[in-house]
């Protein structure tokens, strides 16, 4: 159920968009995008970059980035080895650079897509002070930019195993939107290394309806299994895969 809650939370942020793209190694965002597409009656375009079938690009590795710069991608997903309270993300390493104590794979397209895709959803399931830090050790991509920097895009929300944050771009600050079932505001505060706003009333992150669960376990599981068979089996069992 915990994956399904995250999928539902993300899918709700994609409502009404024309084109959502999802990078590699992202089964939960991919499932959310496919759920949103299902709800749109197939009108939403979803590009799964690690899929052959759900990927229409025909102009090589540059096309995703060009497509984003043309304004044709409405939402994308990024993560971070570290993420800080200003939504800066670190995909490079911890403890010095270039000889980092812990090295991550690298920034990929984050330094670009974070600027150009209007609705970037940060997703990191592990919610711990190790990940959510006061200040990242290396800025792969900054959460906000100075006035005058061309930036039609940026962070929209942060979805974790514990909660959902909105990001207030004006104030460069996260605002707790909801806490996932089985967790508390206090737990979120304890596990988060950066400061954020906590409204007086913080609802629970909604669980998906029975209708949504049927869609997830049916057409979404089937479409996702092309790329993420292990995830589908773990989440929805062999039957779905």
């Amino acid at each position: 159920m915990s994956a399904e809650i995250l999928i539902e939370a993300i899918a709700g942020m994609l409502h009404g968009l024309r084109h959502v793209a999802v990078g590699a190694n992202s089964p939960i965002p991919a499932s959310a995008a496919l759920l949103a597409r299902h709800r749109s009656g197939g009108r939403m375009q979803v590009s799964l970059l690690s899929s052959r079938k759900q990927n229409v690009f025909t102009d090589g590795g540059k096309e995703l980035f060009d497509c984003a710069a043309q304004g044709r991608i409405d939402a994308f997903f990024l993560s971070g080895g570290q993420i800080d309270g200003q939504a800066n993300i670190n995909l490079v390493g911890v403890g010095g650079y270039p000889r980092s104590k812990v090295r991550f794979p690298g920034s990929f397209g984050s330094a670009y897509l974070y600027f150009l895709v209007p609705r970037v959803i940060l997703f990191r399931e592990e919610h711990s002070p190790r990940v959510f830090v006061p200040k990242v050790d290396f800025v792969s991509a900054p959460g906000t930019s100075a006035p005058g920097v061309y930036r039609p895009g940026g962070p929209h929300a942060l979805v974790t195993g514990l909660c959902v944050f909105d990001f207030d771009r004006e104030r460069a600050r996260f605002v707790l939107r909801s806490v996932n079932p089985g967790h508390t505001v206090e737990e979120v505060i304890a596990q988060t290394g950066f400061e954020f706003d906590v409204p007086d009333h913080v609802p629970e992150t909604p669980a998906p309806s029975a209708e949504t669960l049927a869609i997830l376990r049916g057409p979404v599981a089937e479409a996702v299994s092309e790329t993420y068979p292990a995830f589908v089996e773990r989440t929805w069992g062999k039957a779905a895969a």
């Binding site: 590699a24 190694n25 690690s50 052959r52 690009f57 025909t58 102009d59 090589g60 590795g61 540059k62 096309e63 980035f65 710069a69 995909l91 490079v92 650079y97 270039p98 000889r99 980092s100 090295r103 991550f104 794979p105 690298g106 920034s107 990929f108 397209g109 984050s110 330094a111 670009y112 897509l113 974070y114 600027f115 150009l116 290396f138 800025v139 792969s140 991509a141 900054p142 930019s145 100075a146 006035p147 005058g148 920097v149 061309y150 930036r151």
Partner: protein, 277 residues
């Protein structure tokens, strides 16, 4: 004119020490068999560029001591995590890493393709990537509207012109034309490079350019310096549409390559087995 070579060793001999070598990521078309011959010939001081990222072949070359500099937007073995010899070399400081971001690598190659010294691109400003790349510049957009707030800063970076592009593709024809289909980054790499070396599953006795449907996915021989047949040449990372990755072999590699001794033993066993076959 494309030279059709009869051995991978001849191909490997065309990758000189110190060359700037462009390689595709594991999911595109990797000339793994040829890379083993580059290792066997003892190449040194290569400047590798992952277009836009690097994977197993970069780790093999790094483990074998062939690499001086690595430029990429990332290095990863996907589900198998960080490439182990790359991680070790970074820690030991035995390679220099030039961290980049995917679109800058693609656009840097496009600059070389167009023969221009630099390319502008949006984004990137304010990242520590830019802060650590003295070869990148930020200027005020010369086309900004009069009195634009903040000067409209924009990133410029130099062309990436590889000495050698090395990749694996499904098919070549008798004239040296290479079919890559939608893997257009391989075409961009060939256009941008001084020399393109290609291994293929098979050389067919036909002319792709005479067929308008095949021509659309073909790199003309004009850009290809040499090809060599290598059936299964992308093992173990696999070749889309042809054969899948050999996950067991990659897992075994990752386990072995946690230490330099383990890597050396793994490599020796692999080549001994190949010679025996």
């Amino acid at each position: 004119m494309t030279d059709v070579l009869t051995s991978l060793d001849e191909l490997a001999a065309r990758v000189p020490d110190g060359a700037l070598v462009a390689i595709p990521p594991d999911y595109s078309g990797c000339a793994m068999a040829a890379v083993r011959r580059v290792i066997a010939r003892g190449a040194r001081g290569l400047h590798l560029v992952g277009v836009p990222s690097g994977g197993l072949q970069a780790d093999w070359l790094i483990g074998a001591g062939c690499v001086g500099t690595m430029e990429a937007a990332a290095l990863t073995l996907g589900e198998f995590g960080l490439p182990p010899r790359y991680a070790a070399a970074l820690k030991a400081g035995t390679i220099a890493m030039k961290d980049a971001t995917c679109p800058v690598i693609h656009a840097g190659l496009q600059a070389a393709e167009k023969g221009i010294p630099f390319m502008p691109l949006r984004g990137v400003i304010g990242s520590d990537l830019a802060a650590n790349r003295p070869d990148w510049k930020i200027i005020d957009n010369p086309f900004a509207a009069e009195g634009a707030e903040g000067g409209d800063p924009i990133l410029l970076f130099p062309a990436i012109r590889p000495d050698v592009t090395l990749f694996h593709a499904p098919r070549a024809d008798r004239n040296g034309n290479v079919w890559v289909g939608v893997r257009r980054e391989l075409m961009l790499m060939a256009h941008a490079s001084r020399s393109a070396l290609v291994t293929v599953e098979t050389v067919e006795d036909t002319d792709f350019l005479a067929d308008p449907v095949l021509a659309a996915g073909t790199i003309p021989a004009l850009y290809i310096d040499a090809i060599a047949e290598a059936q299964g040449g992308a093992w173990p990372v696999g070749l889309a549409g042809e054969y899948a990755a050999d996950r067991a072999a990659i897992a075994a590699y990752v386990e072995a390559a946690q230490t330099q001794e383990g890597f050396d033993a793994w490599l020796k066993a692999l080549e001994t087995e190949a010679e025996a076959a």
